[in-house]
Symmetry: C2
DNA sequence: ACAGCTTTGTGAAAGCGTGCACGAGGGCTC
DNA sequence: GAGCCCTCGTGCACGCTTTCACAAAGCTGT
């Protein structure tokens, strides 16, 4: 309990990479690895070693020069920084194809984000069970959020319903939203929103595909999320 | 057939926004809107108007000063630039929870990315039908890719199998990969990879949640993918 | 105890992306 | 047909991110 209060402001780009480091570190720990260098971690994460060191330096000076980082200790520090020392139950709004898939996908609960509720507007959906949770009406959202102390909402509605869903989540007291609907949503200041759009991702790939096929100049470098080389090999 | 050959190099950040503009423009067109200004488009996309103009300027000078952009024409131009003038069939590798959800999710085909095949390694999965497509063995990947002229592969395997899946896709001739598995994959240079990781997104939200709750200083600005205000209101 | 090897932590520079501000250019009105 | 108004297109400056390069620091072996 030393200087853990003086939180530096961690750059957004770094925050986005910490979960990746965390997963790799956890895997390494499970494999019995006790120590790791920035070089090794960088290799596994597909990034530059200097970037790893700078990213980790925002958490504090937890490495040992000449040696590397203690895996277990670093796992704990990253988890603490990301707020993963306790579960964050989520509520899913929209019980259609996507909502059912998300609720049924085990990955949520395993990683500390159990599905605390699923709501929909359609009477035909209410009462059905998806992912082990009974679907309830969206009017009960406020009560669900309050009783389970939920702060994260997941929008899995069709695009046109996304704004209404967002408004309902905000009204219910949710302060972070993960939006899977193909629509831009507006929220009051102070609410965090992240967006995942499958069609957008595919269209971005399409751009680079098309350019490769149609462009005279070869220049097929500069791949979006691409890594030169990753693990394996 | 004027100067459409001299392709400028479009910045990655712009490429990532073009699909968003495209969706909005298409919606507007369907609503009977024939003309739109950068200001209006920016409002709907939740971005700065200057950014919209700069983004669109990479496609060419397709606006009319004092008036705005012709919606229909712009839709066509953006589609052409993104390579969306024809369908891009995709092959999904992994027929588990996630793969089934993706194959069953109608959003793919609707937006020009029909599911051209689903493969898996597990004998129990082979032969089952998901999303209207019969699951085949991963050994048939090369044949599927070749016969349907597929260049985009979607990885929907568990994390540990992701690298094998990527290798199989590359060997089969796929040149773009959308990776849903929670793992960093390595690919040869020239292959495009994009990654969607639900857990990572939630953990990023967790960071900002936790900081809001634990931090003394209020500073609850600087939200990751957040917009100050969007549509509505 | 000291020399040498290794790896961290970080200053400084280069590269990108964003947003302002304004000139250029086209339509509309009278 | 001339002037006004509106909106695009873009030069420029700023801030964030990445990368390089190196000094600081710890471990090991003699």
């Amino acid at each position: 309990m030393a200087g853990q209060r003086t939180r530096r402001r961690i750059p957004e780009a770094t925050v986005a990479r910490l979960p990746v480091y965390l997963r790799i570190l956890t895997e390494q720990f499970d494999d019995g690895v006790t120590n790791i260098s920035s070089e090794e971690l960088a290799e596994l994460a597909g990034v530059n070693a200097a970037k790893v060191r700078k990213d980790l330096s925002y958490l504090g000076s937890y490495g040992t020069r000449g040696v590397g980082y203690d895996v277990e200790f670093l796992v704990y520090q990253v988890q603490r920084e990301l707020g993963l020392t306790h579960d964050w139950p989520v509520v899913i709004i929209g019980a259609g194809n996507l909502g059912q898939a998300l609720a049924g996908y085990g990955g949520f609960g395993e990683r500390g984000f159990p599905v605390g509720g699923v709501v929909d507007v359609a009477p035909s959906k209410i009462g059905t069970v998806v992912g082990g949770v009974r679907v309830r009406h969206v009017d009960e959202l406020g009560q669900i959020v309050a009783s389970k102390n939920i702060s994260i909402g997941v929008i899995a509605t069709p695009g046109p319903a996304a704004q209404d869903a967002a408004d309902a989540l905000v009204a219910a007291g949710v302060t972070s939203i993960l939006n899977f609907a193909p629509a831009v949503i507006g929220v009051p200041a102070g609410i965090s929103v992240r967006k995942v759009d499958l069609a957008v991702e595919l269209q971005i790939l399409s751009y680079y595909e098309q350019r490769r096929a149609g462009g005279q100049q070869a220049g097929l470098r500069a791949v979006p999320g691409g890594r030169g080389r990753g693990a394996s090999a």
